[in-house]
Amino acid sequence: MAHVVLKDLVKTYGSFKAVNEVSLTINDGEFVALVGPSGCGKTTTLNLVAGLTSATSGDIFIGDRVVNDLDPKDRDIAMVFQNYALYPQKSVYMNLAFPLQMRKLPKGEIDRKVREAARVLDMTQLLERKPRELSGGQQQRVALGRALVRDPAVFLMDEPLSNLDAKLRVQMRSEIKRFHQDLKATIIYVTHDQLEAVTMADRMAVMNGGYLQQYDSPAQVFAHPANMFVASFVGSPAMSLIPLEASMGNGGAVLTSAEGWSLELSPRNAQKVARATTKKVVLGARHSTIKLHKSAVPGAIPAKAYTVEPTGDVTFVQALLSGAIVNISVSPNIAVTPDEQIWLEFDQERMHLFDSETEMALEAN
């Protein structure tokens, strides 16, 4: 296993910048998820590490080697592809053996390693089958097996779960996590699904438009999103973002809506707002930090319920507030009907404030 360092990595296609000055350090044995919407540059970044595309500028280190100019085969990596990329003409056994054959290992050792990998992944009985005779989950497992027979320095995974059905995805998610814990493997895992990143990774790198937005542990990213993009991308349902106007006065601060209502901020939040470059700030609140009242309460803001989505455990209520849709989760025994008048109370401790110009999170001191 090895650590991986990306330094000021840039990849341009013509005038299009796919990856923009991305710098990341992935520690030995760490599971890092690259996450972002499609076209954010995460897969390009992974391909750069794999050597499938070459960087326009910047450096890639695997271990202590600069690998910029090395062929994929010389980088000591293994990769799991979204479509698994199993060799269709080869049996499972030969698929697993291929990386070892390419490295000219003796036949006996190849056989031993292939059978060991098959045993670990519980597919010994599938060794003679062709990939097309396997289910999606089994194919996924073979792809994983082909990556781990060789004991590479780094595992690269490109959306390995997105071709599986929902149930299998959850199952494989925990298997890959277990696999990481057992092997202490360095894993770079690309996904567009923030939930996979949050549940599996030690650290997640959120990307958008070719730029690295935030690189931190899932808990930190969730609790302290660096900007509005991260705030709205991580977490489901998405964080509600409400554009408001700030006004300062006698030590405190008040947020006012064009709709007429206003919200007095706690001293700590007032401090944050004071650091904004503009009067227009954005209030961010996760569904679980907003309290729904069916009658007026001091400090609560009047709103109208828009849609109601019962999911069994919780009911999600969407309300229109200052032109934004606000998600609130409530207990299923609270009955809310669409168009009903409701009052929303924001948790000042857990609310987020963003500068609407820079879109960056506002932090106290």
Binding site: L52, P72, I77, F81, N83, A85, M102, R103
Partner: protein, 296 residues
């Protein structure tokens, strides 16, 4: 349960018995096409086993009274001049067609792969330029190519034919194969390269076996094209010992009186390699032509 299965079993035959004009029209059309293509072949075969006299009779003998293999014996006998000529023509055709096939695969495979996988300056222009040749009827090139072949001293050689057939066969071969490579996920090669293969090894070990049906289809296509070609062979070759089958058969049998059973026997034997090839490899051929029609 029983009511459900009853309704189903009662409903099924009713649907099948319904007279469907389109379906019957389709069947009639297929039968017509079958007769249209098969009858000449059958007549060729029947004539080839008649005696010379029986072949000329009117009304015709639908079924030969005294079937004979004399024509075949004559053609395949290296002792007499007819047999010698026929076997030589056959051999010439085989050489020209095989050379064309091998060369067209050797050129088309890397060309198609490059068009499919790499971006390079002029890629689109080249790709359509490749097709330009096929927009004109082949005879247009007859005189220019003849002058060209004379200039480079290839007239009366099999090389002139192989070169010409390549220019005709390669465009479609490249297009056919490119479609094939487009359908092979690029991730397979990437996986192979990560697994320790060089780019070339990835191509040879992973991509080539997968494109085998396409290569076979390309090969059949080139072979048949070269095997049947007449006009160029007729123009470029004048020496008797170099003639290919289509020209040879024609010249050979129309010199004096036409020996119809002999002509038909020769034609039949000429179609044997093509038919055998096609029957053996037809599933690849069909697969190659429909590949890409549906997403896997």
């Amino acid at each position: 349960m029983s009511t459900v299965s009853e309704t189903i079993s009662r409903g099924q035959p009713a649907r099948r018995l319904r007279i469907d004009g389109w379906r019957w029209g389709g069947r009639a059309f297929l039968v017509f096409m079958l007769l249209y293509t098969a009858l000449p072949m059958i007549w060729m075969l029947l004539t080839s086993i008649k005696s010379g006299f029986a072949a000329m009779q009117f009304p015709p003998q639908w079924w030969p009274d005294q079937p004979t293999l004399a024509s075949y014996q004559k053609l395949l006998d290296p002792q007499n001049s007819v047999g010698q000529d026929f076997l030589r023509f056959f051999w010439n055709s085989l050489i020209v067609s095989t050379a064309t096939t091998i060369l067209s695969v050797i050129v088309a495979v890397p060309a198609a792969y490059a068009f499919s996988r790499f971006t390079f300056p002029g890629r689109n222009f080249l790709f359509f330029a490749v097709l330009l040749r096929n927009m004109f009827p082949a005879v247009i090139f007859l005189v220019p190519l003849f002058i060209l072949m004379r200039a480079i001293g290839l007239v009366n050689t099999h090389g002139s034919l192989v070169l010409t057939y390549l220019t005709f066969g390669l465009p479609l071969a490249i297009w056919l194969l490119k479609g094939f490579y487009d359908n092979i996920p690029v991730q397979l090669e990437q996986a192979a390269r990560i697994d320790g293969a060089t780019r070339f090894q990835a191509f040879i070990l992973i991509v080539m076996p997968l494109s085998a049906p396409g290569i076979i289809a390309t090969a059949i296509y080139s072979f048949i094209g070269a095997w049947n070609e007449y006009i160029y062979a007729y123009t470029f070759l004048s020496k008797n010992e170099q003639l290919t089958l289509p020209v040879g058969i024609q010249r050979f049998f129309s010199e004096n009186t036409t020996d119809f059973p002999g002509l038909m026997a020769a034609s039949f034997m000429m179609s044997v390699p093509v038919v055998v090839l096609f029957l053996l490899l037809q599933r690849y051929f069909v697969r190659a032509l429909t590949e890409g029609a549906v997403k896997h």
